[in-house]
């Protein structure tokens, strides 16, 4: 087992945090509790961070697993340069956005989730990880050509390219 890439876990944790926060926000708004405005904020925060976190970064080693339809968002994130790709920025960002949610009971769980996320991102940042876009294989246009196999399967001599005599002499 190779080295742990903390950003991958942070990303999963962030997605879970988004769902928790949105759910908390919905509860706060639907309950019309005191300070329910924070609930609206929590929903918006959840959606925005979901969009940031949805595209999965490239793994340093091995195959990367992009999420479905992440391509467009992925371009956006890679355009953001340091702001969206640096994990230290994410650490600070998540820590800051989670503060307002601490002031209301239903959203407090969401805030704590974001704090855990930001801590994992801090670890990722310290380990020198950075968000890298996953390259998309360009789809070929036009009719698909199946490549010739590089290693021919063992076939009867008359099927293979050279004649049978040649092979016999080879063998001798």
């Amino acid at each position: 087992m190779g080295k742990i890439e903390w950003a991958m876990w942070a990303n999963e944790q962030a997605i879970v945090s988004c769902f928790v926060t949105i759910l908390c926000g919905v509860l706060a708004v639907s309950g019309q509790f005191n300070l329910w405005g924070i609930g609206v904020y929590a929903i918006l925060k959840g959606i925005v961070t979901f969009l940031i976190e949805y595209p999965r970064g490239k793994r340093q080693k091995g195959t990367s697993y992009p999420r479905r339809f992440q391509h467009l968002l992925s371009i956006l994130i890679s355009k953001g340069r340091l702001l969206t790709r640096n994990y230290f920025v994410r650490f600070v960002f998540y820590l800051c956005v989670s503060v307002p949610c601490c002031f209301m009971l239903p959203t407090i769980l969401g805030a704590l989730c974001y704090m855990i996320t930001s801590l994992i991102y801090l670890v990722a940042a310290i380990k020198g990880e950075q968000w890298q876009p996953i390259e998309v294989d360009k789809e070929e246009t036009g009719p698909k050509v199946i490549e010739q196999p590089r290693r021919p399967p063992p076939r009867r001599p008359d099927v293979s390219q050279r004649g049978p005599q040649e092979i016999n002499s080879n063998q001798v």
Partner: protein
């Protein structure tokens, strides 16, 4: 016709029963709290969210009882062992233990969400009740005396409460937040990508379950939910509306008492089983294991032969190996490749990761000189544990499909079939074994080839060669010269040019549809056990084919079994 009954029905029945029990528990608790008179005043404070919170809490109890059980390796092994006589379809469900563990975890997440959501409402409403100043029953209830052996109903006592601060004043609030965070961490680190790519991370973070269980048990210790205990002196239907004159002879002040925390009752038995299970594993790991022989094979595979006191294994079982000098925490599963009749037990290990590499180094796989057994590294072995493959003998026809190193579970199966075959007196219900081995390159054959050759020779000697049929598929790893040589040899010799076996090697991937079609025609009306060890994508294809070619009218049945670790 697609036959669902063979492979799918038992699983859906188990899941159905579990869902039904969940539904019943939720429903009955919900109704009890909705209609119960002893909760009338509590309901008038917090409304229907009480029922939701209690319903989900009851389901959480039930699912917490279940979640530890599917991960008790020894327990499952024990059930598998004692359940030899119970229906095979039931026993096969044991192979899906991790799947059930996941389903139960999903259910816990769902009920946690309901429980927390409902308690948000409860808490906010209790806080709100404290702030109401006018002539409201909620105001009266909130101001009930605090002293008389806990005869209060509103746990929030300050007059102008902030729900967030109040939450952290209660045991239930603090433990609730802590265990929910534990649950979230466990969920986020057990997604497929983390499990597959960074197993250690998944493994270590999953251990917060200890905090989770402890928090779960003490969550209800403060007994915050109070029910009325003097219903006979203070009947709801008469007194509820006269709350202004409470305290007289007609309607005394209602008295309340917290309900006892019950979670520990649910968790006690499974936690004990879990503990014993792990202790047993620890103790069996302490017993001395002697490495008797290390054999180096082709394509970075090495074999370790070991001996341990009182070690008995059935074909197809696996063991867990830990090497203290590499890591004290990591236990790695390996399938046994020795037959039960051998006086040693062996595993084949492919060097692919840090751990296997380190073990190879310690065992001096690369060095040529002889090393004394006493200088071998100390290892701990836990097991053996059963898998689906144990049941091979129970079917009429067995189809074993292995991909690459995935052939190992079948090595011991083949060996034990052979040894049972040789004993003339024993009758086997198993009539035919098909072995399909899909392999990427030629060198990978060599370590398994010896066994197959042996088997073939034995079978021919006993005139049983029709019983075992190999189909080896080579998918890569030859150049054009080799290809011609193979072909030429193939024509001349009765033996295969690559493996030296009677049955010729195929090149390319098998066409499973044709394979299954042929099998279903050859063995009409027989039950066939399909055993697979390999990548998931092929597993799905095979599973579907098993369903498709099972035929209930002709009683041709393909039972699909997958090895999973």
């Amino acid at each position: 016709m697609v036959d669902w009954i063979t492979n799918e029905a038992p699983r859906w029945i188990v899941i159905g029963i579990w869902l039904l029990i969940n539904g019943i528990i939720f429903g009955t608790t919900f109704v009890r709290y909705r209609d119960g008179e002893e909760f009338y005043y509590l309901r008038s404070l917090v409304g229907s969210s009480l029922c939701w919170a209690r319903g989900s809490a009851a389901c959480l109890n039930f699912n917490m009882m279940l979640i530890l059980l599917p991960v008790c390796r020894k327990l499952i092994n024990l059930i598998r062992g004692t359940c030899k006589c119970c229906p095979r379809s039931l026993r096969r469900q044991l192979d899906k233990n991790i799947t059930f563990h996941k389903y139960i975890a999903y259910m816990i997440c769902l009920h946690t969400a309901i429980h927390i959501g409902a308690h948000y409402f409860n808490f906010e409403r209790l806080a709100e009740a404290q702030t109401i100043k006018d002539d409201d029953i909620r105001n009266f209830l909130s101001r009930l005396p605090y002293s008389q052996n806990g005869s209060w109903i509103n746990p929030i006592r300050s007059s102008n409460p902030d729900p967030t601060k109040e939450l952290f004043k209660t045991v239930a609030g603090v433990t609730g937040v802590v265990i929910t965070l534990c649950l979230i961490i466990m969920v986020s680190s057990s997604t497929e990508i983390i499990r597959r790519s960074y197993f250690e991370l998944f493994w270590f973070t999953h251990h917060v379950y200890i905090i989770f269980c402890i928090g779960f048990v003490i969550h209800g210790a403060e007994r915050l939910i109070h029910r009325q205990v003097n219903l006979d002196k203070h009947p709801i239907d008469i007194c509820a509306s006269k709350y202004k004159s409470w305290g007289g002879t007609e309607c005394p002040v209602p008295e309340f008492e917290g309900s006892l925390p019950m979670s520990w009752v649910w968790l006690l038995v499974p936690a004990l089983i879990f503990l014993i299970d792990h202790l047993a594993g620890f103790i069996s790991g302490l017993r001395l294991v002697v490495i008797t022989k290390v054999v180096t094979h082709q394509s970075r595979v090495f074999e370790i032969q070991m001996q341990k006191k009182n070690f008995k294994a059935a074909p197809g079982q696996y063991i867990l190996i830990q090497c203290p000098s590499i890591s004290r925490l990591e236990w790695h599963p390996f399938t046994l490749t020795s037959a039960p009749s051998d006086d040693y037990f062996s595993v084949h290990i492919r060097r692919v990761g840090d751990w296997t590499e380190a073990l190879a180094e310690l065992c001096c796989v690369d060095k040529q000189e002889f090393r004394d057994a006493s200088k071998m590294p100390r290892i701990k072995v836990d097991g053996p544990f059963g898998t689906a493959t144990e049941d091979v003998m129970a079917y009429d026809v067995a189809v074993l499909i292995g991909c690459g190193i995935g052939i190992t579970p079948f090595a011991s199966v083949l060996k034990s079939v052979w040894s049972q075959c040789c004993q003339a007196g024993q009758s086997l219900s198993l009539k035919c074994i098909y072995l399909y081995w899909v392999c990427p390159d030629t060198t990978a054959f060599e370590w398994f080839q010896g066994l197959l050759l042996d088997l073939e020779r034995q079978m021919t000697a006993n005139n049983r060669q029709s019983m075992l049929r190999f189909h080896i598929y080579l998918t890569r790893g030859w150049n054009s010269n080799q290809a011609r040589n193979i072909m030429l040899h193939d024509d001349v010799s009765v033996y295969d040019a690559v493996t030296g076996l009677h049955q010729k090697t195929h090149f390319g991937r098998p066409q499973w549809e044709n394979v299954f079609k042929e099998l279903s025609q050859l063995h009409k009306g027989l039950s066939t056990g399909v055993f697979f060890c390999g990548p998931k994508s092929l597993s799905t294809i095979l599973h579907k084919l098993c369903n498709r070619f099972s035929n209930s009218t002709e009683k041709t049945k393909f039972y699909y079994n997958k090895e999973n670790f």
